[in-house]
């Protein structure tokens, strides 16, 4: 039994089913969907509050998504810890700058990769808040609730993502 938890990888069906059960538990115990993008608004607000509290207090968005340490904030440190435990105990943890598929297409210069990742992260942050959720909040938890908006949003994530990935790797890199 213990060996199962230190395996390098599980079937995506098993891991996915586990996430489905976990999502139900979050609705039951915390009355909320498991979403990840709100945490980044809170982190930005908390950093802003440390520098200039009055400026943050005036912003409309931070009155709706209050910068504080709460469930929605803690999910992110939790994910880092959980993924670390899984990777470390299965011998999968290793520090690297450039992932393989990126390196094969654009080279292993860390600066180039970080600039692309930073640009991607900024667009991801804007898009997630614009749409009101992420792959988990809309894609999994919204779909679970049969939310029309969430299912449409999840389709748009993948339409935009597939089109951009094909452009980056099949057109620009080629």
């Amino acid at each position: 039994m213990f060996e199962y938890f230190t395996q390098a990888i599980w079937s995506p069906y098993v891991a996915g089913a586990g996430i489905g059960v976990l999502s139900c538990l979050a609705f039951l115990l915390s009355d909320r969907p498991i979403g990840c993008s709100t945490a980044f608004v809170k982190a930005r607000g908390l950093i802003g509050k440390a520098i200039n509290p009055e400026r943050i207090a005036k912003k409309e968005y931070y009155r709706e998504i209050i910068p504080q340490i709460d469930w929605a904030f803690m999910i992110i440190p939790g994910i880092i810890i959980g993924a670390f435990i899984s990777a470390f105990t299965s011998g999968q943890f290793h520090v690297f700058w450039v992932p393989r598929l990126w390196g094969e297409a654009f080279g292993y210069n860390p600066i180039v990769r970080i600039i692309a990742a930073l640009a991607g992260g900024i667009l991801l942050g804007i898009g997630a808040r614009w749409a009101g959720g992420c792959t988990s909040g809309h894609g999994i938890n919204g779909s679970i609730q049969l939310s029309l908006a969430s299912i449409i949003t999840a389709c748009c994530f993948f339409i935009g993502g597939i089109a951009t990935a094909l452009l980056i790797f099949r057109v620009i890199a080629a």
Partner: protein, 186 residues
């Protein structure tokens, strides 16, 4: 019937947020989706791990959620959407998703596996992007985010069908999609 006292206990919820994150991060890593190559492979349509994991989660979660809702233990959080918010935001997200190769949850998971591009690029970018959105919000809220509201909140309302019929049809469709992926060897 709902666990209202637990929901209102702020300290308990902080701990629960951390615990849910730990289990979620563990399952994301075990499922393979904290790996840049797996996510990018999905967007290039060469690796279907992400779709398999997400469909499995929704197949299990949809039944579980609606049974719990029927018994009065949980409530729906589905909200009204719009073309201006969900479609435009979703497409912007998609561009960032492909450039970064992680989404807001898996980027944190990737950090836990040692990915420095996820930490220095992805997480920092997400914080900056969320800040940009906060700046844009007062303008967007009145002009774009409410533009083109969707005609219904949920799929059963949209189709004007009993929710259990919709659930059964969607479950058959999703399981069928997984069977098809397996049959095609993807």
């Amino acid at each position: 019937m709902m666990l209202v006292r637990l929901h209102k206990n702020k300290n308990a919820q902080i701990i629960l947020g951390l615990l849910f994150g730990i289990v979620f991060g563990f399952l994301l890593q075990k499922g393979g989706v904290t790996d840049y190559n797996v996510i990018t492979g999905q967007l290039l349509l060469t690796d279907f791990t992400v779709l398999k994991l997400m469909l499995s989660a929704v197949i299990v979660g949809m039944i579980g959620f609606h049974l719990l809702k029927h018994l009065g233990y949980v409530q729906s959080h589905a909200a009204e959407g719009s073309f201006g918010s969900n479609v435009i935001g979703g497409l912007i997200f998609g561009v960032g998703f492909a450039l970064l190769g992680y989404c807001p949850g898996t980027v944190a998971g990737a950090v836990g596996t040692g990915a420095l591009d996820a930490l220095i690029g992805g997480m920092v970018g997400l914080v900056i992007g969320a800040g940009f959105f906060a700046e844009l919000y007062p303008t967007l809220r009145t002009r774009i985010l409410t533009w083109g509201p969707f005609p219904a909140v949920t799929v059963p309302e949209f189709l004007n069908l009993n929710q259990w019929i919709v659930i059964i049809l969607m479950e058959i469709f999703m399981i069928g999609a997984l069977v098809l992926l397996g049959y095609l060897g993807l």
